[in-house]
Symmetry: D2
Subunit: 353 residues, 4 copies
């Protein structure tokens, strides 16, 4: 159920509608738009009687929402959500393309700093690196945990990069929130509803990756879980889905970007590193992701990928990342986007093929 307020409704009107909703045992989510405020109603008890709210002062209409998602929907909030970071011009969903780069896993201070220095120079505003690694095998490297978080905090201090890193359970989420700027929920946890709710009660933006076989609706519903707890700063991320195709590790589904943008106000970025699993596919698919209209890119970069403790095969060399940024800078304006920083790469301008 969605209550759309009149354009001239007062703050007092809005407060009274919210109080009424809460008094009925539901939860009210007031989301201000450019012109008017909408109030979403959620709860575990079934449908509200619309009559109760229809006649209150300032209420324009009460809409029965038939789509299973509400807070993520453009019906609820027409304008794009822009996730911003005080003191910087980095955003997800703003006019600037969000560039998130870094190694799959933080392996040491030296490794992480070396990568950070290069990606910052090339124009990234966000640094990504795994502290907690969800690995298929219990015997694979599982991450440096809090030590990695501390290294990334030092990277923020030194390079001014905002930190994006994954939390895999309540305990790690607690620590990630303390050290990082964006909490990543990985594909394998996209339907770990306890973790989603916990992230929804947190204070940091959440970057939510699409599950390996999630439909668009399931993906949006996972975001709804986070938002239903009160955290509205959710960034979606397409990272490839599982199909019969075997020439890439996953099949990157770029058609999801315009599909999400039609239905939802949330920003959506693309991870071509996991999406393809092969270094030589990352640059062409990054170009395609920008061209399709994505709000940003997540790119794995490693100075010595052959020695990486995880996912080396899909990590770019720093020089390749420079070249990618050159190409991204050329395509971004076609879709009305800008790319922060002039970037080292800006000098080169080599052909893309």
């Amino acid at each position: 159920m969605l209550v759309v307020m009149q354009a001239h409704a007062s703050a007092e009107d809005i407060r009274r509608v919210c109080d009424k909703i809460e008094s009925l045992g539901y939860r009210a989510h007031s989301i201000p738009g450019a012109e008017r405020t909408a109030i979403g109603i959620t709860g575990n008890k079934g449908e509200v009687e619309p009559g109760t709210l229809d006649e209150m002062p300032g209420v324009q209409e009460v809409i029965r929402v038939t789509k299973p998602y509400k807070l993520v929907s453009r019906d609820m909030k027409e304008d794009n959500t822009v996730v911003s970071f005080p003191g910087t011009d980095a955003t997800f969903g703003g006019p600037g393309l969000a560039i998130v780069a870094g190694p799959c896993a933080i392996e040491s201070r030296e490794q992480a700093f070396a990568v950070a220095e290069r990606v910052q120079r090339a124009g990234a505003q966000f640094f990504r690196g795994g502290a907690y690694k969800p690995r298929t095998s219990p015997y694979s490297f599982q991450g440096l945990e809090e030590e990695a978080l501390k290294i990334m905090a030092a990277i923020r201090d030194q390079f001014g990069l905002k930190i994006v890193t994954e939390a895999i359970d309540s305990e790690s989420l607690e620590l990630v929130e303390e050290y990082a700027d964006v909490v990543q929920i990985g594909a394998r946890n996209m339907q770990n509803f306890s973790l989603l709710k916990r992230a929804g009660r947190g204070r940091k933006p959440v970057l939510l990756k699409r599950g390996m076989s999630a439909t668009l609706e399931e993906f949006l519903m996972a975001a709804e879980y986070v938002m239903s707890e009160g955290n509205y700063n959710v960034i979606l991320c397409e990272r490839g889905v599982r199909t019969f195709a075997d020439h890439t590790r996953n099949t990157l589904d770029l058609s999801l970007i315009p599909a999400v943008q039609r239905l939802s106000h949330l920003p959506i970025v693309v991870d071509p590193s996991h999406g393809t699993g092969k270094r030589n596919k990352v640059t062409p698919l990054s170009r395609a992701a920008v061209a399709v209209g994505a709000d940003g890119l997540l790119i794995e970069v490693h100075c010595d990928p052959d020695k990486a403790l995880s996912d080396g095969m899909q990590s770019l060399y720093p020089d390749q990342f420079d070249e990618l940024m050159v190409q991204v800078r050329q395509i971004a304006p076609v879709v009305g986007r800008i790319v922060a920083g002039s970037g080292v790469g800006a000098i080169s301008g080599a052909s893309a093929r």
Copy 2:
């Protein structure tokens, strides 16, 4: 790495090899077989030097295992694992077929007892019912939680049925272990590695459902996560995978059963209710699951499926479950299995089509 002990190796020999492994910073898993004991070595540090163990008394050979899974493998343990329950003859993996039945969710004491009475009478040894429900929407019924666990404990007392129910995070796992006989990990959490490790440190058998797009190897590796923490009582469950096919909710992959049985000693059961999502497909696919050689069935039964708070569409009426048991009893002997209890259904004998 796997240490195979000689047939005549003493308990002292075995203990010494285990101590040596632990002193090297790894973990030793001693698993006694019919003839000889094998000791699996796991750990987060890379490969052990085999030379260290090769020459110890009682050691027959040290095998480098190239498959990513070890503890789940038939290389490690040739005989089938039989998960048994003291004081009953109910097992998973023994000669008797394990029949687990009950409603998708526990909705009330009355509802649960009514179903329990019927499924016990028809020959089930296990009762299943959701206390914590992982639902796609945050606004759907999420389960009665501890209240449901108490109802199921009462069902065990009254009907002698063993209780199988799902845990969705560390907190619910704590409670499920306290009240239930088998802890279920759902498909959506198959790669929630924190939960798998936590279940591995628990004392109750774990029924692990295959993820919606999990390969055989990923499924076995998830079981390996549980076993690597010391809990060897893992029961696998095929419940359908996600494909393009739209005539069923999921595509039940019965070929997984012989594939698992070749590679692993763990028991594997089939859930045709989630595997098809349609009531009229449950009985034919249950017959097929028994015929293919599964160790048991998970069946949703509800006395009033049209009013079920979740998954009513795929729940059998008690009379249909009686009929299913009749057919299962006829097929089981062909694959060398027996079905406990004579069952009400035994009288009927109606044709299956």
Copy 3:
């Protein structure tokens, strides 16, 4: 559009309705049922005006069919279609289970006769063997063509087995119709609509395999293509679909069997050889196919599979086929089916696992 005639409608009434339909530029398909006749209307011109037919003598009702398939539908013909072969009791869709067995490809007279002798002795009524092989590579063995057809005709004469073999284009179809008893259309040609229409104008029953990624509706529509040309003897065949799963060559989708049986009157058989692609999975999945309610099995058998020119990996040894027939004989009665012949295997009775 479907015209349902009254139970007492005369042959003359039926003829007049058909004439009327044809005079309107459509095609009439009169299909007599146990109680009453239904007349399907097909054509390339859009919808008929129902009013024209409603009032004619003998007409009970005119039904607008919203499902895209008509002739394949149970709405059109309630009773199961039984494809029978004069002079034998072999059928597809009758009480007897249809057992079709033979090598993937006919390689020589010796090879084919050796297999035929064994499968006939074990209880098969149909012999299958490839004369024209649709191979992924143009450089692979493409079949002995007409020579193979002659060998199979000789097998029919000697062993009394009915012959099932694939046609891959109009030219081969011409010859297959001349020599064989059932024309097979392979999975890769399921939407080769020209071939389907050509087979629909033929006089021999058509065994149509499901395409590798065909939905149930597309599969039924392919059968509709054959039937719309006047050939109503269509046998459907599930042979596995393409998914992400890699433990079998294809994923055998046994839930298709009850789904087809609900919607269509056509018989449906299962090919566990192509459906799994692995010899050790053929027997368990054959048991499952019979248990789920399929009308028959297609099994590849080869006396020396390691030397087979195609698909040796999935062919059973004759002894394994004997054993499979033993198990099939035990399961068939549970689903109300009988298996022709006592079979050599009947003696053994070994356990199925």
Copy 4:
């Protein structure tokens, strides 16, 4: 098997090697490269003895090819294949991006001419339109057949557009070759090997669409079928594959483009109309296809899509096609491509989102 000739080998040397190969009962395919000639050996009889050819004059080396495809491979021919059309500068695989546009089906002379006029003006060099339509239902519009071919021939005369249209069997192929410039083989016929061979014996370039669940290897092998008969002008086309995802009709797999370009010298284009099945996704995915490096686009355009006899839902309005061409012109240079004609759209320059 591949014979690589020395750089200075004479035409006589090459001829002698080819003769030798043919005398051994195989087929020789001599393909001249920038520096040297390679000779592919194909045939249905197994491996050639390399010793026979190794010592002949002008031979540099004889390579056993382990990949199943030969003629399509970059090993065989390092330089990109450019399919060109005498008297025009339109190509597939050259520096210019190939733009193929037109209605799904030719419905009438008026409809076709109206679309042709618009797409030619916007910069397309190729006109596409269905004369023979492979439709899921036998009762759907199946195309105007030869009448449509005549309309398209008239369009070539009037607008100078080259004609691309689909053949569905030997009979239609005969006619399509007579009237059109490029013969299209549709996704459903990608493994109709008889049709592929027939097209391989033809004189017109073949545009081959990827099957709905074809792997990269199967796709290349289908092209190999055409080439093995002597027609080397094959253009590949990605048009979406079938997955569980339901927000688009198919899942457009853009990662196939760089994957094909690594392995094969053949040009590859993208069809975002069938690839998404939704009008509002065509433009963003067209941008992405150009950015990923495709050699061209196939776009459905219809002046009145709501009245289209097939696939109206995915057809662009002419104005939308103009706008798409503006965006394509902006992205093409980033990947080193040019777009023929200045195009009407070139004036506008509106933002892409």
